[in-house]
Symmetry: C2
Subunit: 288 residues, 2 copies
């Protein structure tokens, strides 16, 4: 996707909230840096649950929240289930942890005075310029979105780097398989024989009622039929292999992606014949 099309789609996503559309387009057009990626309405996974930041600039790890009246609604909550969620932090306070910071536009501070409102936004634009002056940033090229060389350089996949793959084949080939395409969602790694790859749908689908716990630590896998739950439990409960898990999500423009979520094992104590199989995360990293 080219930079223009990407931004046309990102900026339009804000239309439901008129303040948000105004703020995001003003920051975008006044900052005027096409190689700085804008992500609108980014879901962020935190220990306290999932948060939504109205604008996220990934290169700067900067989140901007717009305190618009009537923020959040049921439609959003429903959409969350399948949507891509980045991992920002392990800690409670997003500002402290993993170098992410958050800025707020407090709409009520402006009353309904357009000059004051513009000033609030323009001050934030100046703030962003200062961050850029101080730290610079790696230019963003959307065609390099699925360039994984940085993970190779780091020697590991880390959920905090938010590794995302377009296809199952892309993910497993990066980890040593050699396939053209892959229809299956669960299979053994050739390069890492102690591990299985798993690409689950962690939302209700087909005969399954799967779920990812909001903090990302547990996966609930359960057929939505009592007999199947029991059979599935008996088939899986003694599986001691580790799973490299890439759940299937849609990104915020609606495209399918597989995000690395960490290494999980069957949690034998939590799992049961009534609740189904529960997997516990044992690591947020995978060493290459």
């Amino acid at each position: 996707m080219d930079v223009l099309t990407y931004n046309l789609n990102q900026l339009r996503r804000t239309y439901r909230k008129r303040y948000e559309n105004y703020v995001v387009t003003r920051i975008f057009h006044r900052l005027n840096l096409p190689d700085l990626q804008f992500v609108t309405q980014q879901l962020v996974r935190r220990p306290t649950g999932i948060a939504l930041t109205d604008l996220y600039l990934p290169q700067l790890k900067l989140h901007i929240e717009i305190d618009e009246p009537h923020h959040g609604n049921q439609t959003e909550a429903d959409e969350k289930r399948t949507e891509d969620i980045i991992e920002a932090t392990k800690k409670l306070d997003i500002v402290e942890a993993k170098g992410h910071r958050i800025e707020r536009i407090r709409i009520s501070d402006a009353g309904d005075d357009i000059n004051k409102f513009n000033e609030l936004i323009d001050n934030l634009v100046d703030e962003i310029k200062k961050i850029i002056e101080a730290n610079g940033y790696e230019p963003w090229f959307p065609e390099q979105e699925f360039d994984f060389s940085k993970f190779l350089k780091n020697g590991k996949l880390s959920v905090y780097e938010n590794p995302r793959f377009r296809t199952i084949a892309d993910a497993v080939n990066f980890l040593g398989q050699n396939v053209r395409g892959m229809q299956r969602a669960f299979f053994r790694s050739k390069k890492y024989p102690d591990y299985n790859f798993w690409f689950p749908k962690l939302y209700p689908n087909g005969g399954w009622d799967n779920k990812l716990q909001e903090d990302g630590e547990l996966i609930f896998e359960r057929p939505n039929n009592e007999t199947h739950i029991r059979n599935h439990y008996r088939a899986i409960i003694n599986d001691d292999t580790k799973r490299i898990v890439f759940p299937r999500f849609t990104d915020n423009l609606g495209a399918v992606i597989y995000r690395f979520m960490g290494i999980y094992i069957v949690d034998k104590e939590r799992s049961s014949e009534t609740e189904g199989i529960i997997y516990r995360r044992v690591s947020s990293d995978f060493n290459l």
Copy 2:
């Protein structure tokens, strides 16, 4: 309505078309003149029919068209019926007539290159700045939107000044009545006894199938029932009074307004017992 709320609503109106949203918000935020009124998706009545300009800056009489693929659709055509339409010109070429000018953003000129696209828009912003430097403009205050002193100064109402009133009472009190409120849509003027005031709905409503011809020259008034057409025809055909006509429209943010459309009389040749009563415009001005 305050300037901020007005613009939040205007800018959001563009969301259906992603290029338009991008262009309009970029012009708005880079021009950065809150006392310059932005009107998005302005309908314009021209001798060739009704046109839609994507952005209209009334103080500069400047229209901006954004050549977006798939421009215009049936929904818009349907909405047109009740919507407020400004009178830009008597002539075919909007650029020459009545001081209105038009600028175009040709999206295809940019390919999908965001830098070229921004440059197209920024060139237009520079163009607007030049127009302002050369001619200046009267600052816009939305609370003065229904200030009619300029019509008094001109000594006439002219459709090309686009006079609009919030209520029937406002319109007739400006023309010499003295009423608090007015439920009726047709009644005699006290100050100008040769004239009747008329505030018609020129779209299908209740038992009526009324219509304003696209160029504004004819009004079709017709009950949607054969017996009623004949009775109505017989009651009205010999009416020789002149009508000062303010059809009821909604402005582009959905509020009701009554726009002065000129002086009309019954067109006895065009009217018939089958087609109903047809009124012909005899003047676009009314001398105060």
